[in-house]
């Protein structure tokens, strides 16, 4: 990491991490075509020459491609920009302004982890589409480069989009998670228990077991229908497991930093300033043991699927309080802890306004839980029947309000209000409250959310 103003190349093993499938593919083709031969036949006489010759040629081709790919992938760090050039035939040149870099994540896919390599992913404020990727560097280099870029981002002139650092402590963006205060940790036992205490997983597992038993007892043809279901359920289950495996959350000056992963380890930093909305959920069976899940809407994290961004896969009320304290330090009330306790449970203390009893026929299970509270900074809303949800939306993050009233709500003088946010699927939802209260809330919220 000495002279960073010159072009540098990535780790020579990177093309292999990108393209190891090609080698496996070649081996597989070879195997398929020589299936009928025994080992002795394979490596005897003429055939030995041909095999070695062709293997050598294939290896050469692969190596040439790997070399070209490695040769043309270069990166450069200047005072103001990060440049990444890649591609042999189709060249691509990408750059990111360092003062617009909102966060740097370090990812380690399985093969990269075996080789001790890591990938850097930059979240850039001014590009709405893809994140800039730099793959692969040795793990130490990746951490050093990340540190260097964060330092440069801090020393530059402050720009309005900067939320990366706290101005009060400019030199403390220590990337080493070991030295950061630990906020939450998920033991593997608790993770497994929490997974099997979720209804979709219980039902899914039972269904899978039933089908496997049916198949084993000789019901023919069922496997064709079962396999896709099994696979999709399995991959979903694996994703849940992967997201919570070895999960740690630690506090930074600017927000929090999480790391998790079973096969590939992921690290994300979540600047508190980019969090748009927070959602605390307690699925039906978790309520028995007092566990919660915390998800957020956060700008700049590219989510490949419809799921929300998890910041706590499972945790008790203490962990929730700690995480909320970081992501939403100012809840706008004095007795933050007590209000939080009411928000994640059922009750009308601290000024929570609930659904009137005439909502009972519309939501027999949930009407007692439904409610909302407006504080100086945030709208807290609770809804949900089996899985109880509490969402926290700061006034300044509301993108739009929707007052809505269905035919059955009109008859009972009820109404709902939705608060839409950016960066994810979490919305604030005042469900089936008194129409008069909902209308007054909408009027007041329209003024609150544009206050500066």
């Amino acid at each position: 990491m000495s002279n960073n103003d010159t072009w540098q190349r990535v780790h020579p093993a990177s093309p292999f991490v990108h393209g190891w499938l090609a080698i496996v593919g070649l081996l597989y083709i070879y195997w398929q075509n020589t299936d009928e031969l025994s080992f002795a036949e394979r490596f005897a006489g003429d055939r030995l020459l041909w095999t070695l010759g062709l293997a050598g040629a294939a290896l050469l081709v692969v190596l040439v491609f790997y070399f070209l790919s490695w040769y043309f992938t270069r990166y450069k760090l200047t005072e103001s920009h990060v440049y990444v050039n890649s591609g042999t035939l189709f060249r691509s040149q990408k750059q990111a302004r360092i003062d617009k870099v909102q966060g740097i994540d370090i990812a380690q896919p399985l093969v990269a982890r075996l080789l001790g390599l890591a990938e850097l992913r930059f979240d850039v404020a001014d590009s709405s589409e893809s994140v800039l990727r730099l793959a692969f560097l040795s793990k130490a280099d990746a951490h050093a480069l990340r540190q260097l870029i964060l330092e440069r981002a801090n020393s530059g002139t402050p720009s309005e989009a900067r939320v990366l650092t706290d101005p009060a402590a400019p030199n403390q963006t220590d990337p080493n998670p070991a030295t950061l205060p630990l906020m939450a940790k998920v033991p593997i036992g608790r993770l497994l228990a929490s997974l099997f205490l979720q209804l979709p997983i219980v039902i899914g597992t039972l269904a899978c077991l039933t089908m496997v038993i049916l198949w084993l007892t000789g019901v023919q043809g069922i496997i064709a229908g079962v396999l896709p279901v099994l696979l999709s359920f399995g991959s979903w289950f694996y994703k849940q497991l992967n997201q919570g495996w070895n999960y740690t959350a630690s506090a930074m000056d600017t927000g929090m930093r999480i790391s998790y992963g079973l096969a590939d380890t992921r690290q994300h930093s979540i600047p508190a300033g980019r969090v748009q909305a927070i959602c605390v959920t307690a699925p039906l069976l978790w309520r028995l043991v007092g566990w919660y899940k915390v998800e957020v809407n956060v700008l700049g994290t590219k989510n490949d699927d419809a799921d929300n961004f998890q910041v706590l896969p499972v945790g008790d009320f203490e962990s929730v309080t700690r995480i909320m304290g970081i992501l939403l330090p100012d809840l706008g009330v004095i007795n933050q802890r007590e209000v939080l306790a009411t928000a994640v449970s059922t009750g009308y203390e601290h000024g929570f306004i609930g659904s009137p009893s005439r909502a009972k026929s519309l939501s027999p299970g949930a009407w007692k839980h439904q409610g909302f509270l407006v504080t100086d900074t945030t709208v807290i809303s609770r809804y949900g029947w089996l899985a109880r949800t509490a969402t926290f939306v700061p006034h300044s993050r509301v993108q739009g309000l929707e007052f809505s009233q269905g035919p059955w709500e009109q008859k009972r003088k009820l109404a709902g209000v939705r608060l839409f946010c950016a960066g994810g699927n979490i919305i604030g939802h005042l469900h089936q409250v008194d129409a008069q209260i909902a209308a007054e809330f909408t009027l007041a919220q329209a003024t609150r959310q544009v206050e500066r």
């Binding site: 993108q399 929707e402 809505s404």
Partner: protein, 165 residues
């Protein structure tokens, strides 16, 4: 009317009356096609293919009933549309059965689109869509006369730049 809504329905600028004609034409085309499809069992029956009688009669009758029910509230649906420009935000309302009022602060606006389909163009109308960074926070204004739509777009864009947060 005892309906409780944040803003009184009277304070909104309503959709242009000829938007009803657009809706009516769309309704006629959509339900015409659906009715034709539901007539297929009847035609098959007449052609001698064995088809259940209840399907041959029930399907078109059901389609007709739903179409007429929708026709009944079509005019009220158009009358329920409207927009309201305020100091800091823009409000649209819609819906008879499912009533909605959507509030978008100018400062959160990302871009404004003006679209017009062939049917709308025939009546000199257009529709305006206001988008924010939030997925659900989108406001649609239907049945705007074309020049009024352009003027509204200009006003919204300049208000958005002014109130940018």
């Amino acid at each position: 009317m005892t309906a409780t809504t944040p803003w009184s329905p009277n304070s909104f600028t309503p959709a242009h009356p000829s938007y009803f004609k657009v809706k009516l034409t769309t309704w006629a085309i959509t339900w015409g096609v659906i009715l034709l499809v539901t007539l297929i069992p009847g035609v098959l029956l007449l052609a001698g293919v064995s088809t259940p009688l209840w399907l041959a009669i029930g399907a078109p009758v059901l389609a007709l009933v739903i179409a007429l029910l929708i026709l009944r509230i079509l005019r009220r649906q158009v009358l329920a549309l409207g927009y309201l420009e305020r100091e800091e935000d823009f409000i649209v309302r819609s819906g008879v059965m499912w009533r909605k009022q959507v509030v978008i602060p100018y400062g959160r606006m990302q871009y404004v689109e003006v679209n017009s389909g062939p049917l709308e163009r025939r009546f000199g109308l257009c529709q305006l869509t206001l988008n924010t960074a939030g997925a659900g926070a989108t406001a649609h204004v239907y049945g705007l006369p074309a020049e009024q739509g352009q003027a509204l777009r200009e006003r919204l864009v300049s208000a958005g730049e002014e109130k940018m947060l």
